[in-house]
């Protein structure tokens, strides 16, 4: 694992007296996995790379005058709770209290930002080793300094709660740091054992709790700058339309009007306030060149199993012969989905003597800056991207092309400009979760267990063509869309013949990462099919699965999770009080998860009463936040599984507002969610996406038991409506 590598001493760059008391900074740290594993493994599990990219030596830590540590995080906080886990890791290895650690997102000009993105649920997993090593090293540096400043032996000193103590003398870390001329960087000390940690492994409250409960201005859209004007940007509603021209019907006389700016495929109105910009915008008539009006049928035509680029992503044993006796085949589908994060996209951009500054919610500060540099023809050093807290990420903030529009507007206006999306713009210019189509085939052996299983899945781009794909060579090498592949392979190694085949097509509009990527739809297809085969074989669906799983490694961990879920969720094939249970499991980025759901149908509506979720995410740095991620994944997954669907209508993406874009609300959330964590690895593994995998299949499997009908198309409520009609 990458984690075994120690941070080299040469990479430590320490300075003093730069405004704060003792700035401790670390230069470029690049963690790259040794490519010993197969390339497919790499694609599924590769940790992200970090790259320092500022003009100044990159800043990871600051010791402030009030004896606190400020950590400039290369990962952003989008709700996943990683800032809290980082603080726990730092506090434990630096010997601090939780309230002595503060975490902020690093700016590109001064900090170390992620070379790729915050995503793939890898924040805590990726920083687990390096962050604790840095913190432990700094603790040693402070102790050594205190020793030399006081003329005492290092061995006679202890560090606790931000103070180094020798007998009855003690000095705060800040005090020690303020006297340092030149730091001596020791070898990284041994890290503590897991069980001796005070903060790691404990359900400590989120560090951003107060800010989020009392309404502090921490989000991208809360940013402001003296003298700024507001932009409303008109972009094409019709997919593929190109901007031609505009005619003003009196925009100049609108209150607050500042100016009209035309761009590559947009026209914007700037005004003194946002509502004024929105009002003024209605006074422009825009002409578009519309080459084609895409329809749902066009999409279905393009995207099918058997069309597009074919790529075998898994192959074991022999292929199924469709004409063979006993071969069962089922088709499944999932629709296009919107991110629908509550904070719309947007950016504040301004120029000053240092260059360009852009403040925004982004999962990719480094890429945002590179793209700005290209588009604005400026050097990267002249651009500072300031990431804020994100009002939801889910993959939507991987595309930040709007940062360019904001910068162009600020340049044209000669003033700071704040650009925020309207909700319609948000829905129509999302980077959607692509629709998918699946064919799953299989055959039972004489004992009634799966002998063959094949998954064919057609998807639009997920990671191919997305901003991070540019930096991700794995995608190119493989020719496979690794995002669409998530959960697409068969995880039951005891099935002698299994394979997975991807059919990849690029759609006429942007599709990309959506929390868990292909996992939800792929798991829905495979696990619904497996359930159907268990019924056919008249077997208990739990045993039907464990029977075809080995006991070693990943498969053994999955087997344990499945068994545990059946036990904790008291899975039973019989049903009580009109409720049936559904079972499903998934594996994503080395994290197995299994759900037991209890479902009934009331007045035609699917009601999910209880979800039991078992997850093996290795070390849970903050068990409470791991649970929160499971709860959130289950509810967001339910929302997508039961209700959500984007469609094309007369060339336009639709719906464009919450409500018509149907989502899970309070009344749909299960009244009971039981999360049970299994620790099958001694490092933290991804948490934010894997528990989203099984939910659609688990619900479908319960409905099958309730009604005898197999739901094959997400959104399931719509599918059920059709069956009941």
């Amino acid at each position: 694992m990458a984690g075994k590598k120690k941070i080299s001493r040469r990479k430590f760059l320490v300075r003093g007296g730069l405004g704060t008391v003792g700035v401790m900074a670390v230069g470029t740290v690049l963690f790259r996995n040794p490519l010993r594993r197969t390339i497919m493994d790499f694609a599924e599990t590769a940790p992200p790379m970090y790259s320092g990219s500022g003009t100044e030596p990159q800043l990871w830590f600051e010791l402030t005058k009030d004896n606190k540590v400020l950590f400039h995080s290369p990962k952003v906080e989008m709700g996943q709770g990683s800032f809290t886990s980082f603080a726990q890791m730092i506090a434990d290895e630096m010997h601090l209290r939780m309230d002595q650690v503060e975490v902020i997102a690093a700016e590109t000009a001064t900090g170390v930002v992620d070379g790729l993105s915050t995503g793939g649920s890898l924040s805590v997993a990726g920083l687990w080793q390096p962050l604790r090593e840095l913190a432990a090293t700094m603790r040693m540096m402070l102790i050594k300094e205190a020793a030399s400043q006081s003329g005492q032996e290092v061995s006679s000193l202890t560090a606790e709660e931000g103070y180094v103590t020798a007998g009855n003398q003690s000095w705060s870390y800040a005090e020690i740091a303020s006297k340092v001329e030149k730091w001596e960087v020791p070898h990284t000390p041994e890290l503590k054992e897991l069980k001796s940690y005070k903060h790691i492994g404990k359900p400590v409250p989120r560090v951003d709790l107060d800010a989020k409960v009392f309404g502090d201005p921490i989000f991208g859209l809360d940013a402001q700058k003296e003298g700024m004007v507001h932009a409303a940007v008109i972009r094409p509603s019709v997919v593929g339309a190109k901007y031609k021209s505009y005619t003003s019907t009196g925009v100049e006389s609108m209150p607050g009007f500042v100016q009209v700016v035309e761009g590559e495929n947009w026209v914007a109105v700037l005004a003194d306030s946002y509502p004024e910009a929105l009002m003024a915008e209605t006074k422009l008539e825009v002409e578009w060149d519309i080459p084609k009006k895409w329809s749902e049928e066009d999409l279905q035509d393009m995207l099918q199993v058997g069309k597009g680029k074919r790529m075998i992503t898994q192959k074991e044993g022999s292929a199924l012969d469709d004409d063979e006796e006993g071969v069962v085949s089922l088709s499944f589908s999932s629709p296009m989905g919107a991110h629908a994060q509550i904070e719309p996209n947007g950016a504040l951009a301004y120029f000053d003597d240092k260059g360009l500054t852009v403040v925004l919610s982004t999962q990719v500060p480094g890429i945002t800056r590179t793209q700005l540099s290209d588009a604005m023809d400026m050097k990267e050093e002249q651009i500072n991207v300031v990431p804020t807290f994100l009002g939801g990420g889910f993959g939507r903030r991987l595309d930040t092309s709007h940062a360019i529009i904001a910068a162009q507007l600020a340049k044209a206006a000669g003033k700071p400009v704040k650009y925020q999306f309207s909700r319609k713009e948000e829905f129509q210019h999302d980077t959607f979760r692509p629709p998918t189509y699946h064919t799953v085939k299989g055959k039972l052996n004489a004992e009634g267990y799966l002998d063959s299983l094949e998954h064919h899945y057609a998807s639009g781009d997920v990671s191919a063509n997305s901003a991070i794909a540019l930096a991700n060579t794995a995608t190119k090498i493989l020719g496979t869309d690794i995002g669409a592949m998530r959960g697409g392979n068969v995880m039951y190694n005891g099935i002698p013949n299994h394979r997975a085949v991807q059919w990849h097509t690029t759609l006429p509009f942007a599709t990309s990462w959506w929390r868990s990527l292909g996992l939800l739809a792929n798991t829905f297809a495979i696990e619904s099919f497996v359930d159907e085969m268990a019924l056919k074989a008249k077997k208990n669906p739990v045993e039907f699965r464990t029977q075809v799983l080995g006991d070693e490694g990943m498969h053994g961990r999955l087997k344990k999770v499945i068994e545990r879920a059946a036990e904790v969720g008291a899975y039973s094939d019989t049903f009580t009080n009109g409720r049936a249970m559904g079972f499903a499991a998934s594996t994503d980025t080395n994290v197995p998860s299994a759900h037991v759901v209890e479902v009934s149908i009331e007045e035609g509506q699917i009601v999910v009463h209880k979800v039991t979720c078992v997850l093996d995410c290795g070390v849970a740095v903050n068990p409470d936040q791991v649970r929160a991620q499971c709860e959130g994944s289950i509810i967001m997954g339910m929302s997508a599984s039961l209700f959500e669907r984007m469609t094309l209508r007369d060339g336009e993406l639709f719906p464009t507002i919450y409500g018509p874009y149907r989502m899970a609300l309070m009344k749909h959330a299960p009244k009971e969610i039981v999360v049970d964590l299994v620790q099958g690895a001694d490092i933290p593994l991804p948490v934010g996406e894997p528990p989203l995998g099984p939910i659609a299949a688990a619900i479908g499997n319960a409905i099958r038991r309730l009604t005898g009908e197999r739901l094959t198309d997400i959104p399931l409520q719509e599918n059920l409506d059709q069956l009941l009609a």
């Binding site: 409960v213 859209l221 946002y274």
Partner: protein
């Protein structure tokens, strides 16, 4: 046009060209209270919920002129870090927020609900708390709403 109202206990007069300007933008950009959020601008998500004379209102679709003479409360005026409102205390105890963006709207909607129904049932909660949370924090919110009701009732008994 000048419009006067009380916001979080303070008298304010704002000058707007258009009396139909949504209260949301007056609160966020003129009065610089950023806790009230913009989510959809069409009364469809609840991120912008605040109180006007104690009623929960979706301020993105509420003309500022209707606030004339009213008592307006935003998340900043609900409680403070030192002295949190029972809803905020419960939200902290249950560690509800994830990304946090929707949360002020939910807390304002909950505070208004508890004024009307001090002990809401699950059914009451389902019918009245209809904002959207993309992170899916509803499960903890429900617990927090019940806890807030308890906290509020205990404090009034004292």
């Amino acid at each position: 046009m000048k419009i006067s109202f009380t916001i979080n206990g303070q008298d304010q007069t704002v000058e707007v060209a258009d009396p139909y300007t949504p209260l949301l933008w007056v609160v966020r950009d003129i009065l610089d209270l950023k806790g009230t959020k913009f989510g959809c601008g069409k009364a469809a998500c609840g991120a912008c919920t605040l109180h006007v004379n104690g009623e929960a209102v979706r301020s993105c679709s509420y003309a500022v002129k209707f606030a004339e003479g009213a008592q307006v409360t935003t998340i900043e005026g609900l409680g403070t870090k030192e002295n949190p409102h029972p809803v905020q205390q419960a939200w902290k105890d249950q560690v509800v927020p994830q990304c946090g963006y929707c949360q002020p709207g939910f807390m304002m909607a909950t505070a208004a609900l508890l004024e009307k129904i001090p002990n809401p049932t699950d059914e009451d909660i389902d019918q009245n708390i209809i904002n959207v949370c993309r992170c899916g924090t509803y499960y903890r919110m429900r617990k927090a709403i019940h806890q807030a009701a308890e906290l509020a009732n205990n404090s009034t008994k004292e």
